[in-house]
């Protein structure tokens, strides 16, 4: 169904040699999911947990409760304990890439979108919050939260 299917172009911004390697990553949103991985390299759950709990990276902990010994989790978002029992990989991938496609009023930032933003600080212009690989890493970690 055309209305449920949308192809969106995101940008991969590698940290190194970005200009040489930056290539659009096309993903398909269908049935409120991005079924296909953004990268060829499978996500790494260990790296994903680090990204999710590091302030300068994913910083999930600022808004969400995560399992484990993390102190002072945020409470503005739903808990992520057991999130993989509630949502599948495709649903979670869309929520990381661009949650506003599910709920336009959500507080949650789009971690892999660089368009439709207003007054982004110069050092962040054109850069998604996470790279495609980092999104896959966080996703791999979230899928362990059963």
């Amino acid at each position: 169904m055309a209305s449920l299917r949308r192809v969106t172009m995101g940008l991969v911004c590698g940290l190194l040699a970005a200009a040489a390697t930056a290539a659009p990553v096309a993903y398909v949103v269908e049935d409120y999911r991005i079924a296909a991985p953004l990268t060829a390299t499978p996500g790494d759950a260990v790296r994903g947990e680090e990204i999710a709990t590091t302030r300068a990276l994913g910083n999930c902990l600022t808004c969400h409760v995560l399992p484990g010994d993390y102190e002072f989790p945020g409470t503005t978002g739903p808990t992520l304990v057991g999130v993989a029992r509630r949502l599948d990989a495709g649903q979670l991938r869309l929520r990381l890439v661009d949650p506003k496609q599910i709920n336009p009023y959500t507080m949650m930032p789009a971690y892999f979108r660089t368009t439709g933003l207003y007054r982004v600080a110069p050092e962040y212009v054109g850069k998604p919050i996470l790279s495609a690989q980092q999104v896959e890493d966080v996703l791999a970690y979230l899928l362990t939260l059963r």
Binding site: F72, P109, L117, I129
Partner: protein, 268 residues
């Protein structure tokens, strides 16, 4: 199915409410909480922080009140006059001023806030150099003047010529910005009381500024605080004293209407 969904959301709503209500019921916040649910940042602060604010000897903000009082009587500029030469005793002449500002200034055809009014006096009446934003003397004088309204309800005028500026400030408050794509409303209206990591989100009320912030280890202006928020969402900031922030300041004053001026407040 629809009824079931409503039932679920009603249960969720009920489940979410009691915690907040219980926390509120435990404390009588007096003038710091209004019947319509608006609350000063005082009510979100830790008890030690509130105790610090309430004790004039513990509240470091009073250092700036005292500096301001000294500057009030100090002649400066080519005219050789002090604030007191025109305005007399600040506790009398400045009472209520800090509760009203920012106001529409006909000569500028836009709003003017307290810092700017102080500097306008310096440049146009005293023949003195304007104090730079966030400088010690400007913070001291602003704190001193606003302190004269301590306990008075915030009462800005938002109609008449101020109306379009108020609307601009409101639009700023509601506009998503920065790489994190967040508007002021997302934290300070939709999530006040919730935790952002270890920090409890307040309603973002401006009635305590200039505020002694423990994180800063100094007193700071409202515009400095707004800039910090803008930086946190990775947005391009505006300069302190910019029209954008002064317009937002009027909207924030309206949000805090009826709450007491606390200057100098103490916050995390």
């Amino acid at each position: 199915m629809r009824t079931a969904l409503f039932a679920v959301s009603a249960v969720v709503a009920v489940l979410r409410l009691p915690a907040a209500v219980a926390a509120d019921a435990a404390e009588d916040w007096g003038p710091y909480a209004l019947e319509d649910g608006r609350r000063s940042g005082y009510t979100y602060a830790a008890s030690e922080t509130r105790a610090m604010q309430d004790d004039e000897f513990e509240n470091s903000g009073y250092i700036w009140v005292e500096k301001g009082a000294e500057l009030w009587d100090e002649a400066d500029g080519s005219v050789g006059q002090a604030c007191s030469d025109c305005h007399g005793d600040a506790p009398e002449s400045m009472r209520g001023v800090g509760a009203r500002y920012p106001v529409f200034a006909p000569e500028r055809e836009k709003l003017i806030n307290l810092e700017q009014r102080i500097n306008q006096c310096r440049t146009e009446r005293m023949g003195a150099e304007p104090w730079t934003w966030e400088s010690e003397p400007l913070l001291a004088m602003t704190t001193y003047v606003r302190h004269q309204s301590q306990g008075m309800p915030v009462s800005p005028v938002i109609d008449g010529p101020a109306a379009p500026f108020f609307e601009t400030g409101k639009a700023f408050y509601e506009k998503r910005r920065g790489q994190l794509d967040l508007a002021c409303v997302h934290c300070h209206e939709m999530n006040a009381g919730n935790m952002l990591r270890a920090q409890r989100l307040s309603q973002g009320m401006s009635n305590g500024f200039p505020t002694y912030r423990l994180k800063w280890q100094t007193i700071g202006s409202l515009h400095r605080r707004i800039r910090g928020c803008n930086e946190d969402v990775r947005a391009e900031t505006y300069a302190p004293g910019s029209d954008e922030y002064v317009n937002l300041e009027l909207y924030l004053a309206w949000r805090a209407r009826g709450l007491p001026v606390e200057t100098p407040a103490v916050r995390n």
